[in-house]
């Protein structure tokens, strides 16, 4: 990753606050993403890891413009994404960025044949003349390792792993440059998971895709991605190359997360850092450092100011005021 090349997708100061619902707006607003800076270069795979409520899925949808950001700027290939952009402009950009969902059952329309669903993108953007669409669909199915003859089948006739391949084929139909994969293998069995991860790895290298891979499964991110962002309660805790972050995590939360991941090989098992309690609610985050309520190293200073993401040697950034002390 040369620092010189401008990133394909770049977000600065990105925030998303979901307003409370109801007539009286009694609930507190949920701060899903808070002042996040993130960028993905062409051909780069960026992993986003975190637990439920960390805002990682919201971040993916914000970058695609599927949800409007409350604050901050997103640039795609240098062009700012803006809700007031003309519709035609939006459609042109939509073609260049796609999404793959987690749930292989909910992400396909149960009432339409899969061939028609894959062809949707071709038809919407008029990429391929109608007569040649069937051929292109077959080609896409073959690309994701499915039998092209199955284009006339309905989603319920496929297994979970096959449906996920169909979802990938649908996303690839518009020949995107940027792909957001939102927990694409979390609902799959391990033996199938490895197949789909291998497929995504192969496709992104062959097609030169920029990939934002959202997952709570750290080992998968380690194998698939170049860089990783660790999120907690809507904020980035640590960011860096997969090598550095996984070998020597600098943030106490990254360490806890890594040590909590069950390992098969007993010699690799790290000393378990057992976090106390549950993550706080994103509607009522703690003051200062979001992680301080569960952190073994927290001091009074941690409650006072929100730690900025700061460089910590090499290509790594960390949001912890005590990173050097506790290393």
């Amino acid at each position: 990753m040369s620092a010189a090349a401008p990133p394909l997708v770049e977000a600065t100061g990105l925030s998303k606050i979901f307003a409370a619902h109801g007539v009286f707006r009694r609930g507190r607003p949920v701060q899903a993403v808070r002042r996040v800076d993130v960028s993905v270069a062409r051909g780069e795979a960026l992993g986003v890891v975190g637990e439920s409520g960390s805002g990682k899925s919201t971040l993916g949808r914000l970058l695609l413009g599927l949800q409007p950001a409350t604050e901050g700027v997103i640039r795609f290939d240098g062009q700012p994404l803006d809700a007031t952009m003309p519709k035609a402009e939006w459609r042109r950009l939509r073609r260049r960025m796609q999404i793959v969902f987690q749930d292989p059952f909910g992400s396909l329309d149960p009432r339409r044949r899969i061939g028609a669903q894959i062809a949707d993108g071709l038809a919407i953007h008029d990429l391929v003349p109608a007569a040649e669409r069937a051929g292109r669909v077959e080609e896409l199915l073959r690309q994701v390792g499915l039998d092209p003859a199955h284009a006339q089948r309905f989603p319920h006739e496929f297994s979970g792993g096959q449906r996920q391949r169909i979802g990938i084929a649908r996303a690839l139909a518009t020949e995107p440059e940027f792909l957001v994969a939102d927990e694409p293998v979390s609902a799959l069995d391990v033996s199938i998971q490895a197949q789909v991860v291998a497929l995504m790895d192969d496709l992104r290298r062959r097609l030169g895709l920029a990939l934002l891979f959202i997952s709570h499964d750290l080992p998968v991110v380690r194998h698939l991605c170049d860089r990783v962002v660790v999120m907690y309660l809507g904020r980035i805790m640590e960011e860096g190359s997969v090598e550095t972050v996984f070998r020597a995590p600098a943030h106490p939360y990254t360490r806890a997360l890594l040590s909590a991941t069950p390992r098969i090989d007993p010699t690799r098992r790290a000393k378990r850092i057992l976090l106390q309690g549950d993550p706080p609610s994103p509607s009522n985050p703690p003051s200062g450092c979001a992680f301080r309520t569960r952190c073994a190293h927290a001091t009074a200073a941690c409650a006072e100011v929100v730690p900025e993401l700061r460089p910590l040697g090499g290509e790594r950034q960390v949001a912890c005021i005590r990173a050097e002390e506790i290393a």
């Binding site: 439920s52 939006w90 009432r111 291998a198 098969i264 090989d265």
Partner: protein, 623 residues
């Protein structure tokens, strides 16, 4: 053809017959329905008039068929108009929200405020009776139903990922609404249509009966009932015919729409298995197997086979499964979805769904065979000597009771003479024991006020409330975050050490097995393929499936390797080894006959005819 379409024939034929009769009325050579013949007044069945004559001597059969024309025309026209406009309004309101939503939905609420018959009466009185007025009134009356149904369906459909996916493809709102949302909300709209047509037929008859609908002498079912009422004493049959026609039409309409909805949904291709009464009354079990030589085992399962009756014939999701678990031991049952691990656990607990039943084998707990115990005795054991923790704590806890009450209830169900106060204080102790801070206050909380990890702790507290000998945990951490999963695994291990209970841990995660279990049973396609102590099985797997499964987990530096192919469906289990089709070591012999579970050293079994051979090959390759 799909089974759904078969159900369509009878109601479709019936409706087609009624509609055809009405349409073809002029061609049937019927007597003129309005020609009076006072001489034949109230005559019974006679040649040329099989159903007799009415109070003006008009032919009843002819009036019935001609009456269907006006009744059905009014009903279909008004329901169609309401359906068209209602669906459009509902789609727009549900999709665009904001002002459109307000106008579409709130204006309908105003229409709903008027009692329907009163509104109809008012309009008809103002505009004068007649079919045109009726159609207009009925369309307005049925409009809110369609708007509300469509609106609600659109709201739920737009939260689905597949709608989001089409949005991400850059589709315009019109395309999304017509291609994606409309087909998925069509089912409930069709049902609403059937209800509207049926009720319009009734309302049309009612208004005609009151003299506010179809104008005499034109035939209509309502008018016929009105006429027959006056002469009810002399000719009661006259009342019967129009009523019969009404009932039949409405019934046929409703049946047709139900069948249509099922047939249009590609997902209902497989009908639900029907429960055979015989299976419930006489579970076809073989005589109990003798208790094997391991008397100290808390639970011993031998040769367990479960059969489920499906439309495609019986399937066996679990076949010949044997294992034992001892006091203070953790046994993990690991396998992918469809391996039969959960079915194994639920059959031990006696919680199989009605369509499934154990057909062979035994499960011994404290000298009793759980598979043959009558339900009342099983109930005493469940939550007593054996307890279970499920994957989803939210759906396993009762949302309307405080968690403390639920735990106290579990205690009192198994111990007579325990007062509510004693049970409550024990519940608080248990909550403290499972690591819930401030248990006195938390015991008063409702399940929805707790986080997922905390709810799972409550479930565990409830399960261990009566000091069970055996605890079965079915994927208890799958729905939890890793940091919370680590807490729950620690808690279970600690409880097991303290109480000496046997723990069966069902999971798909090999990492979790390695962390928590002493011994492991690896299942594939309903069978045990390998069994042994965790360090041995994970350190030196004997079965090719176990080896492939371990290689598929991303752990360490090697890239995870997927297993080609998919798990075979229970309908199509191969005769020979069930893993052969995906196995790199498969030989023709593997597919010829089912492999037996062989002993392979101390406490170790494997179901592979080539395990020794493969092991030797591997050793050679290393050397």
């Amino acid at each position: 053809m799909r089974p759904g379409t078969k159900r369509l024939w009878v109601p479709a034929g019936l409706v087609a017959l009624i509609v055809l009769l009405a349409l073809l009325a002029p061609l049937l050579g019927l007597p003129d329905p309005v020609r009076q013949d006072v001489a034949q007044r109230l005559a019974g069945p006679m040649p040329g008039s099989p159903l007799g004559r009415d109070e003006f001597g008009r032919d009843v059969l002819s009036r019935l068929i001609w009456g269907a024309r006006s009744s059905l025309a009014v009903a279909f026209a008004s329901a169609s108009i309401a359906c068209l406009f209602g669906t459009i309004l509902g789609l727009l309101g549900g999709w665009f929200r904001g002002l459109g939503e307000f106008l579409a939905v709130r204006s309908m609420d105003i229409v709903l405020c008027f009692p329907p018959v009163l509104l109809a009466l008012l309009v008809v009185t103002l505009l004068g009776p007649g079919a045109g007025t009726l159609i207009m009134v009925l369309s307005v009356l049925y409009l809110p139903g369609f708007v509300r149904v469509t609106y609600a369906e659109v709201l739920s459909a737009r939260s689905h990922d597949y709608v989001e996916a089409v949005r991400a493809l850059g589709a315009s709102a019109g395309r999304i609404l017509t291609r994606t949302v409309l087909p998925n909300v069509a089912g409930p709209i069709l049902v609403q249509f059937s209800l509207a047509v049926a009720s319009a037929v009734v309302l049309e008859s009612g208004l005609s009966f009151l003299g506010l609908g179809v104008v005499p002498p034109a035939p209509s079912w309502g008018l016929m009932i009105r006429g027959a009422r006056a002469t009810m004493a002399q000719a009661p049959l006259l009342l019967l015919w129009p009523c019969l026609a009404l009932t039949l039409t409405i019934l046929a309409m409703n049946l047709l729409c139900d069948a249509l909805r099922d047939a249009m949904d590609p997902r209902t291709a497989t009908a639900r298995p029907r429960l055979r009464l015989l299976d419930r009354v006489l579970p076809g079990l073989v005589p109990p197997a003798p208790n094997a030589e391991a008397p100290e085992a808390v639970l011993e399962v031998g040769g367990l086979t479960v059969e489920i009756a499906t439309p495609r014939g019986p399937i066996r999701p679990v076949e010949d499964v044997s294992f034992a678990v001892h006091a203070g031991e953790t046994l993990a049952i690991v396998g992918e979805s469809g391996s039969g691990k959960s079915v194994t656990a639920t059959s031990v607990m006696g919680l199989l769904p009605p369509a499934a039943r154990p057909v062979a084998g035994a499960a011994w707990l404290e000298g009793r065979d759980l598979l043959r115990l009558p339900e009342p005795e099983l109930r005493r054991l469940r939550g007593g000597a054996m307890a279970m923790v499920f994957q989803d704590p939210m759906s396993s806890l009762n949302p309307v009771h405080r968690v403390g009450d639920q735990i106290a209830e579990a205690i009192r169900a198994h111990r007579r003479g325990v007062t509510q106060a004693q049970a409550w204080s024990r519940a608080v102790d248990l909550l403290r024991r499972v690591g819930i801070a401030d248990p006195e206050r938390r015991a008063r909380a409702y399940p929805h006020e707790m986080s997922g990890g905390m709810r799972q702790r409550v479930m565990i507290a409830m399960a261990v409330a009566n000091e069970p000998k055996l605890l079965i945990a079915d994927e208890p951490t799958t729905a939890l975050d890793v940091t919370v999963q680590a807490q729950i695994l620690d808690l279970l291990a600690e409880l097991r050490r303290e109480t000496g209970m046997a723990l069966i841990f069902i999971t798909h995660s090999l990492g979790v097995v390695a962390e928590i279990a002493d011994r492991v049973v690896v299942m594939y396609a309903g069978q045990v393929v390998e069994q042994g102590s965790v360090p041995e099985v994970f350190g030196a797997p004997l079965h090719p499936y176990t080896r492939a499964l371990l290689a598929a987990v991303p752990d360490g530096d090697a890239a995870p390797a997927g297993i080609p192919g998919v798990v075979p469906q229970p309908h199509a289990f191969p005769v020979g080894c069930r893993f052969a089709a995906r196995c790199p070591h498969a030989r023709p012999a593997c597919e010829a006959a089912p492999p037996a579970l062989e002993g392979a050293g101390e406490g170790r079994t494997v179901r592979c005819i080539r395990w020794a051979e493969i092991g030797a090959e591997k050793a050679e390759a290393v050397a």
